[in-house]
């Protein structure tokens, strides 16, 4: 079976604190999982999520702070809107809305975060590879 590519986009604050703590505690993470750390999930727009799928991701998980915990203000709300719209585009494309997962964490929830990553990996594994894996955009 084709290798499954999992991508996490992680806010630098609460979720990354969880991820860091989980790493310090040597908790086991799913294989084939790659993480991109951003300052806030509000920095991510529809294009970046779509680009992940265009470049061959089989599943994308957004790891964000709880709504009330955002260090900047509207980050998670921006995330909710983007997720909703990108899911709709994924549905139109027939890629499947479930391939885009959105989860939020407080800074102490490392077990929850690791469990969420395993659940995500299992879900994408069960769905199989993304049916739309196009040629990548030429790299300059």
């Amino acid at each position: 079976m084709e290798k499954i590519n999992l991508l996490g986009i992680c806010c630098n604050w609460s979720p990354y604190a969880c991820y860091n703590a989980a790493g310090m505690a040597k908790m086991k993470m799913p294989p084939n999982f790659r993480l991109i750390r951003v300052m806030c999930i509000g920095r991510i727009n529809q294009a970046m999520i779509l680009r992940a799928f265009e470049f061959g991701a089989d599943g994308v998980i957004l790891l964000e702070c709880k709504d009330e915990d955002c260090r900047y203000g509207p980050g998670p709300e921006v995330g909710h809107v983007n997720v909703q719209r990108v899911r709709e585009i994924l549905r139109l494309l027939g890629i499947g809305q479930k391939r885009l997962v959105e989860r939020s964490f407080s800074a102490h929830e490392k077990e929850e975060l690791v469990k969420a990553l395993w659940d995500f990996a299992e879900l994408i594994e069960s769905m199989g590879p993304n049916p739309a894996k196009p040629r990548q955009e030429r790299v300059v």
Partner: protein, 397 residues
């Protein structure tokens, strides 16, 4: 160095750049230059002929053009500027990659490229409501285009481009045509083609052609000018022996209405009309839309200061290089529309609708640019009737 490429000499010759008299009419009419951008079609032609070592300038300029074709319209020497830009972009993209700032961070180009995947099973047709009569195979198909995607992506500015598609099908049904809608039709590839991504454009063409053939399609009806331009002009170059007739919906409509038996209900509005560049300057349809509007009783068409052949672009093409200068063009265009005293802006291209609606929503303009905007097809679908006056289209508001 790519600019030493002998193919550039061919492109320059083929699109008549050597005929350039340096009269400067192109630069004097370029909306992008007039909006203040440091870009000049005249200088680009000059540099390519006489100073080709200025690579940076040439490359920037090639990606900067709107491809609206206004310079080409004014050029006394017949330089085919838009097509020249198209080929230069393809050539530069080959060696230097795709350039030009992608609007919306390239999200639209992303999904267009995702559509090059052959295994795609799209869900693009769930907006089809039961009152529309459509088929899954047959000789006549309607090309939906990107409308279902646009409405999701641009839901922030509340454009309804799917209404154009619904109204097109209502009109076809009115003419007793039950068009085929293809479940796995791809993007026509206009934006990829015009931004230099020829490789993916050709894949889209081939996938689309196979879809048409599999459904037994002999004639394609298109309402989007970009779709029409690409399917009728560029797709036959990619597919050898392309044997599908491509018809523009408004052409079909005008022909059918002139046969008699159909007319429009009165629509008492003052409207103005935005000529889309792909419909007007690229496909030569200036009179058709105006003739159709003139058939609607009580409708008064007020032309903008720049209309028909001199119409100004909606500010952006192919979703690249949307910036403050595009915005200036759009604001100027909307002010022209307002100055006509019209209260409805009619356009014929979903992208004009998206771009102008976006400019209208600018909070800094405090609503001073707001104006109702509708597609030509929707205005016509709302008012068409049998001239006996008995059988109206069912289910219209």
């Amino acid at each position: 160095m790519p600019l030493d490429d002998p193919r550039i000499d061919r492109i320059i010759r083929e699109y008549s750049l050597y005929q350039c008299l340096e009269c400067g009419k192109c630069s004097a009419s370029c909306p992008r230059l007039l909006a203040g951008k440091e870009y000049s079609p005249r200088l680009l032609a000059h540099k390519l002929i006489a100073e080709r070592e200025d690579e940076a300038f040439i490359e920037n300029s090639v990606w900067e053009c709107l491809t609206c074709g206004l310079c080409e319209e004014r050029c006394p020497s017949g330089v085919e500027f838009s097509r020249f830009i198209l080929e230069m972009r393809a050539l530069l993209a080959e060696s230097k990659g795709l350039k030009g700032y992608r609007a919306h961070d390239g999200a639209l180009h992303s999904w267009m490229r995702m559509m090059t995947s052959p295994d795609l099973e799209q869900n693009r047709l769930d907006w089809v409501d039961p009152e529309l009569r459509v088929a899954s195979e047959g000789p006549i198909a309607f090309f939906t285009g990107c409308a279902p995607y646009f409405d999701v992506f641009f839901s922030g500015i509340e454009v309804d481009t799917l209404s154009i598609v619904r109204d097109s099908i209502k009109l076809l049904n009115f003419l007793d045509i039950e068009p085929v809608l293809l479940k796995d039709e791809r993007c026509c590839g206009h934006d990829l083609l015009w931004t230099g991504d020829i490789e993916n454009f050709e894949i889209l063409c081939k996938l689309n052609y196979n879809e048409f053939k599999a459904a037994g399609v002999e004639e394609l009806v298109v309402s989007c000018p970009e779709g029409f331009h690409v399917l009728s002009e560029h797709m036959p170059k990619v597919i050898p022996g392309f044997d599908i007739k491509v018809t523009l919906l408004i052409d079909l409509l005008e022909r059918e209405i002139r046969k008699g038996g159909k007319a429009f209900q009165p629509f008492k509005r003052r409207v103005t009309y935005q000529d889309p560049c792909r419909l007007g300057r690229m496909s030569g349809r200036y009179d058709g839309p105006r003739a159709l509007l003139s058939m609607v009783p009580d409708l008064k068409l007020r032309e903008m200061e720049n209309s028909g052949r001199s119409a100004i672009c909606c500010g952006n093409s192919g979703f690249i290089n949307c910036d403050a200068y595009s915005k200036r063009i759009q604001v100027q265009r909307l002010r022209e529309a307002k100055a006509t005293g019209a209260d409805l802006l009619v356009t014929a291209c979903p992208k004009c609708m998206i771009h102008l609606t976006c400019a209208m929503s600018d909070p800094n303009k405090r609503g001073s640019l707001k104006m109702e905007i509708r597609d030509l097809v929707s205005v016509l679908a709302d008012h068409i009737e049998y001239s006996e006056g008995e059988e109206f289209i069912k289910g219209r508001k």
